[in-house]
């Protein structure tokens, strides 16, 4: 289910891309600078919008890299405009587009290291479930919540995107 879950996270980044477009249109309609979004926060000691998007992108990018062994592109977190942030999301989607199910064979048994774990490790299976997936949704949902809090017109359908509904 690794590849399928990464595909779902890639789809979620596609939804995030659309939210940024909606946010840009909202700023235009209200005549304010769309780059103001980047520094909005829900609490003074929480990370701002720009970091929520960057970390959401890195959560899935680095997880895909760690669970496949495929090198990830470097992103120095220099985005200063909403347009640059959109490009960051698109570049993460493009990286995820390079994966196939075969890349994640053996993912569960990989040994994952992380700069913050002070020399400790996790199995690929544990890392994926306990860290990568919840962390990704944490940051993407914070990006959504920040836009909603600042008046951008989004709803649950924009969050979930299209679903594989079919006739019974």
């Amino acid at each position: 289910m690794y590849f399928e879950t990464f595909s779902q996270m890639k789809k979620q980044l596609g939804q995030l891309s659309k939210w940024l477009e909606t946010a840009a249109a909202h700023a235009k309609a209200k005549s304010f600078d769309p780059n103001l979004y980047l520094n909005f926060r829900l609490a003074p000691d929480q990370l701002p919008f720009v970091r929520q998007v960057q970390i959401g992108c890195d959560a899935v990018k680095l997880a895909a890299s760690r669970l496949s062994g495929k090198a990830a592109p470097s992103n120095p977190d220099t985005e200063q405009t909403l347009e640059e942030l959109s490009a960051r999301v698109r570049s993460t989607i493009a990286y995820l587009d390079t994966f196939t199910a075969k890349d994640f064979e053996g993912a569960a048994g990989r040994i994952v290291t992380h700069p913050r774990w002070e020399g400790q490790v996790m199995s690929g299976a544990d890392y994926f479930l306990e860290n990568a997936v919840p962390n990704f949704f944490f940051h993407v949902t914070h990006a959504y919540a920040l836009l909603r809090h600042n008046g951008v017109n989004l709803g649950k359908a924009d969050y979930l995107g299209s679903q594989s509904l079919r006739a019974p």
Copy 2:
């Protein structure tokens, strides 16, 4: 991976339980009514805290039921205090405690129906990945974000909880 992912969501509800305790302690320290949290919103047209918690609980409860065929307890959404909301979370955890991996054998191939899908259906596999998991994290993260926005002292470690780190 169904059972493992439900176990992770159960763990996430355990973290949510702890956030509610921290929120109650914060209200006590600041001498305000802890039940005020229930009606806080991030936007006037977004659901309040009480609904974020109730829907988060139902997202995982109903998904476990739909993907296993095991009946779920009914929850009429009558919680009016932070204590009652904590009990709701604990009761959802208790329901999830009744599951074993065997309950989800064949989950991927189940046909899932939903009152909002106007007669259409999804496969268990699609429903799980495209709806159940992202919807669960959406509401739980909104609950977290609402508490943070209202001054409750939480951090990423409180969100993720303990992880299966080990020596290399």
